[in-house]
Amino acid sequence: MTATAAALAGAARDARRAWDVRATAGAAVVVVAAAAPIVVSSSRLEDLAAGLYLALAATGLALAVGVAGMPSLAQGAFMAVGALTAAQLRIHGGVPTLAAAVVGAVAAAGAGVVTGVGFVRLNRGLVAVSTWILAWLVALGLEAFPSVSGGAQGLLLPEGPSTTAHYELALALVALAALALVALARGPFGLRLAAARDRRAAAAALGVPVPRLRLTAFVASAAVGGLAGGLSVQLAGIADAASYGPYLSFKIFVAVLIGGAASAAGAFLGVVVLGLVSVAADAVGAVENVSSARFHPLLAAVLLLAVLALGGEGLLRAPRRHRLARAEAHPEARDTVSQGWLAGRALSKRYGDLVALEGLDIDVPAGEIVALIGPNGSGKTTALRLLAGTEHPDAGTVESEGRLARTLQATATFGELTAVEHLLVASAGARRHGGLARTLLATPKARAEEAGATARAHEVLERFGLGAGGDTPASQLSGADQRLLMIAAASATGAAVLLLDEPSAGAAHAEVDRLARVLAGLRDEGLAILVVEHNLRLVRTVAARVVALDAGRVIARGTPEQVGADPAVRGAYLGSQTL
């Protein structure tokens, strides 16, 4: 009982801390809007409610477009799936309003799973192409099968709740969806999606399950679209197949971009702007005595072009990030440094005629740093990919124990995220209460875990000497700090084995020493570390053993001194450096 009270008090404290001008503005808009039925005529109210359902669908799409970075063009199609499912259930099954809408949402989610499982693995351009084909496919299907869609006459639905009830429900759902979007974007789910959006390969190397998270976002987005469709069709009282064409998908996409895909209220604002512009156009049209409805697509197109020309961020920018205050690390969630090792046996890889790697044997035991050296093109990065499992060897085996994390050769930080958030992205994989549902409901466990993870992230940053820059976007850190940050992130995954690809690339002397101290510290914690390195100074300082490659073959192995003295190694490096 007291635990519950404490949890509630904590939640209230966090909510107070998170409260800002935007929250006040949002709450004020909702309160004023909720009073609208008192003054607005019934037909106007129906338009407003329809607009709110559209805003609901758009807020759902913002999860896919803004947070996950997938330009999905099929939200209208998912609305259609929800709408027709709900309509058929109302007409033939006598199912009540809300139940029909929920089943519609489930149907849309199902359609989202079937299509998304492949789509989310495509690059952004092809996500747009495939979802656009889907939008047309659904529209053509509705046209071709009037038995499902009601054809040109449409499907007439039985009488449902009043317009006012629809309006208040729609308003509540839009507000809830916006709140959910804020919670998701800030939580581990959204952070990892944002990391994958900015640098997919680097996120995957940190163990972020990119396809699974993207699929979750895609399906959630489709489900919200389906819910909006299932409710709006009952508001209209008729399912009109022609209204679910590709233009609907385009309009929702435009609304998200106009309002700002990165902001929770952006989709709502975008729908408002589109609605106001249409109303203004209709007013002008009425004076000029022309029907302006068919010019609405042109207005949406022009607004979109204007927003894109202004940088594409939309009216509402991403809010400054709010983090939970630092708390004591949760005792349950403490780091336990797991022991692990990595071993490759007789690894070979060819690309066509090129022998990239031939018969590599390598052991990386716990508590040891092993360096892989060699001139450019000698097969170091290939070896790393095989050992990390991102490519399969033509021959040989890789065995390992314990979780594995990898950093990439290029400096690849997730530009928009802060340093602390980088570590949260990395540590999210080890969390048990950071999924979509728990984040949304902010369960006490999820909140405690969040606080603990944040506290540990700060600790790790201190240890790496990055404590000062914890809350600045990573893109503003120096190159050396960015590289250290990615190593910190790799270690924060809780991995027992680290694979680091040229961590010192382009670093100055002082930075190399700092890097050496950091790596030695991680080794002393018991991690097994493999570094691919050019910098022989770093290798000599930290590595216990060295494997030298040339043209895909091992030319020397042993202690740094032994390998450094080997004439074959000296020959491969043209004598330009001495260990």
Binding site: V129, S130, I133, A301, L308, T390
Partner: protein, 305 residues
């Protein structure tokens, strides 16, 4: 047997046009890495501009335009498509392509599509149009149709197939044999290299957009009199061409074959008893989506980007 002949002719006639559109999509993609969502609407612009120059906005019967005026109208329509196509690259695609903003070029080309569509529908506001045909196909056979056994073959179809093949041949010749074509080849394989050796990349790519638009536009004008025509007809040409091109990963000439296969599949589905006309467009598009998804699932995650 009779069904096979009918399916082959009507499928080839439709598919050859899809194929040319698909080649246009692939050419654009190979050069820029961008998908042109307004391609179908640009084709619509060409067809309706031709109609406008030939007969204004008044209703026409299929024989009411003289050959000379029609030829001039076609030239005018194609000139407009060429200008709009190149312009769409310079003003709607290139700025975002250079910035690497996918949302930018997707949004801008879609916006262009809906802007063009609105303008066309504002001028040509009837549900669909009959397109004039200056060539006397109606004099052939039974009012333009031949009955071969149980099959009904539209005489125009053979003409459409022939023109489309000729256009494909001409495009292949331009791309393979001319200096312009080889310069495009260089841009497609290595943009930076092409810039270093002094090729005017932006102008070349703009011209390639114009070429893609003109070829697809001409094919659509040639095919337009075969049936009723509206903006959606052209938008669907763009979409089906895109589906065919994406199915073969935008491989230039394989796209042409994929377009023909799309057309044959449509005609086949419309003519078999267990499916029928409602499934004609839906099934091939669904198959393309399934193919895309299957391919994405099979490829290892590391190579995805």
């Amino acid at each position: 047997m009779d069904v096979v002949l009918q399916v082959a002719v009507s499928g080839l006639a439709a598919g050859a046009v899809y194929g040319l559109v698909a080649v246009g999509h692939s050419l654009v993609y190979r050069l820029t890495g961008v998908v042109h969502f307004a391609f179908g609407e640009l084709i619509a612009l060409g067809v309706f501009a031709t109609l406008f120059f030939a007969a204004g906005t008044a209703p026409v019967t299929s024989t009411s335009v003289s050959g000379g005026r029609f030829l001039l109208a076609v030239l005018g329509g194609l000139a407009l498509v060429a200008a709009a196509s190149a312009g769409s690259y310079w003003f709607a695609v290139q700025p975002y392509q250079l910035r690497g903003s996918t949302v930018g070029w997707v949004g801008a080309s879609l916006a262009l599509a809906f802007a063009l569509r609105t303008l066309i529908v504002a001028i040509f506001d009837r549900p669909s149009y009959v397109f004039p045909d200056p060539l006397p196909f109606r004099g052939l056979g039974d009012d333009g149709f031949w009955h071969v056994g149980g099959a009904t073959i539209q005489a125009r179809s053979l003409f459409v197939i022939a023109v489309a093949l000729a256009l494909a041949g001409a495009s292949a010749w331009i791309l393979a044999r001319t200096r312009f074509g080889r310069a495009l080849e260089a841009v497609a394989s290595d943009v930076e290299g092409a810039r270093v050796v002094g090729l005017p990349v932006s102008r070349l790519v703009g011209l390639a957009f114009a070429l893609a638009g003109v070829v697809a536009g001409l094919a659509a004008v040639v095919a337009a009199p075969s049936g009723a025509f509206n903006v959606d007809t052209a938008a669907l040409l763009g979409l089906k061409g895109l589906a065919a091109a994406v199915a073969v990963r935008f491989a230039l000439w394989t796209s042409f074959v994929a377009g023909i296969a799309f057309g044959l599949l449509e005609a086949g589905i419309a003519n078999v008893s267990w499916a029928g006309p409602p499934y004609r467009e839906v099934v091939p598009l669904a198959l393309v989506l399934a193919l895309l998804a299957a391919r994405a699932l099979r490829e290892p995650e590391a190579r995805a980007e």
